[in-house]
Subunit: 240 residues, 2 copies
DNA sequence: AATGGTCCAGTGGTCGGGCCACCCAACCAC
DNA sequence: GTGGTTGGGTGGCCCGACCACTGGACCATT
């Protein structure tokens, strides 16, 4: 049984997460300069009135985001976030700065349009019968929304492509889809289009037709990129 | 003064890092199944004969890698690493499994060949005079090795493209370059080729010549992809 | 002057033990 | 069934302490 759609999964909050957010804002916002030394863990703990271990948890996360460098016996230093390679940081950016959100989404869609067709091509060449079966099951499954189906279809294609980078990038896109997918799927016409796409790409993979797979994916990516871009522009005009 | 080249930067080890590695191997290696509940923090601490806070640090990192899900009041559960979107995981994979290393490098080079040209195109359209100046400085700077120059040149191009995703992906590639760049640059002919490339792409960006920028990058990417692929194949044949 | 050794205050890493917030399953009352 | 209660077990956080490591000051040697 699917839960009512108006219930979004809410996130548990941790105290360390709040601290993480504060420091993250300081770094991204430029209040903490690159190379600058942060206050010591003991100082931060005292200033924030929390325990040192809580501060350490927050700093550990920031280290994972490649925003700080922790040097044993020395201190914690701010790194250049523009040199980070952590995709999670992108998500944090969009949630922080409303203005940058659209820019990120555009960048994201462009990248997808660029590598999607190649991924489809590789999938058509490397797919196994297992992949086909998974695709069939997803497409048939009536309990899933079109958005959910779309995510799963792309996931199978990424798996079939045998390119781990493509798979990983797609996993990242899917996170975005959960948050912003409505921008595309709220239009029933777009939803219909996706259902059609699922059937077509399935046939192309089944027939190992690389050229066709590439073309189908290219069309879908370009279309959705334009659609969302237009959607954002309209929202932007209305907003101000 | 540049340090002697035979000195590679060595990594400080943390106890929590070791624990992280053990659990990571268990998850990637399949010994811990998806959805499985890990032993409690207290149990792990007792079994490994370390403090619970050390175990928590390790689990925190695994959470950042999206390999486990920590549920307050419940336990820690194994997630499907094929659904992770953390690029750091890819690096961990290559360092763990010698066999998968080549596969990852191939995937990486393919992705780069796919999006590199578009990145160059965007850079040629959006570059500012500041970008050009940075490029000039990097190309001229005689104290840098060709590898270091190449990394910086690409970084400036990524910055100029204004696509945050391209920038981030390139940052990731650069990490690989530090570890595996020798596969390409140990051949002096390839190094010469790169120097030439730097000059050409600079001219294309200067003239805002999108078509040319795209073409130049495409040629370089394809060439290096083939070169490294051939290099890996040869090494593979010799190795067994 | 330059080099290398020693020491020391400060910092992050680990330890141990404790309490709190939360989850879950079992049980109970209706 | 349904909803409320209870209790054991889990992760989150706290406290205080010690260990491992760094950087700088100081000193002895060359």
């Amino acid at each position: 049984m699917a839960p009512p759609s108006f219930l979004r999964p809410l996130t548990r909050s941790r105290l360390s997460g709040e601290i993480e957010g504060i420091l993250l804002e300081g770094i991204i916002g430029g209040k903490l300069r690159v190379g600058e030394k942060l206050p010591t863990e003991r100082e931060l703990a005292a200033d924030l009135d929390v325990n040192r271990s809580t501060v350490r948890a927050a700093l550990g996360k920031l280290e994972s985001l490649e925003l700080v460098e922790i040097r044993h016996g020395d201190g914690v230093y701010v790194k250049d976030f523009r040199r980070s390679s952590n995709l999670e940081l992108i998500l944090a950016l969009t949630r922080m700065d409303e203005h940058q959100r659209d820019s990120v989404i555009s960048s994201l869609l462009r990248l997808r349009t660029i590598f999607g067709p190649d991924m489809a091509f590789l999938a058509s060449q490397n797919r196994t019968d297992d992949h086909l079966r998974s695709l069939r099951e997803v497409i048939r499954e009536s309990r899933l929304s079109v958005l959910e189906k779309d995510i799963l279809v792309h996931h199978v294609i990424a798996l079939a492509s045998t390119n781990v980078l493509y798979l990983l990038l797609l996993n990242f896109f899917n996170k975005f889809m959960f948050e912003y997918g409505y921008l595309y799927f709220e239009d029933p016409e777009n939803a219909r289009r996706s259902v059609l796409f699922h059937r077509e790409i399935y046939q192309a993979l089944k027939g190992k037709n690389g050229r066709k797979a590439r073309k189908i994916m290219e069309d879908v990516m370009k279309f959705s990129e334009d659609a969302v871009a237009g959607r954002l522009k309209k929202q932007d005009h209305a907003g101000r």
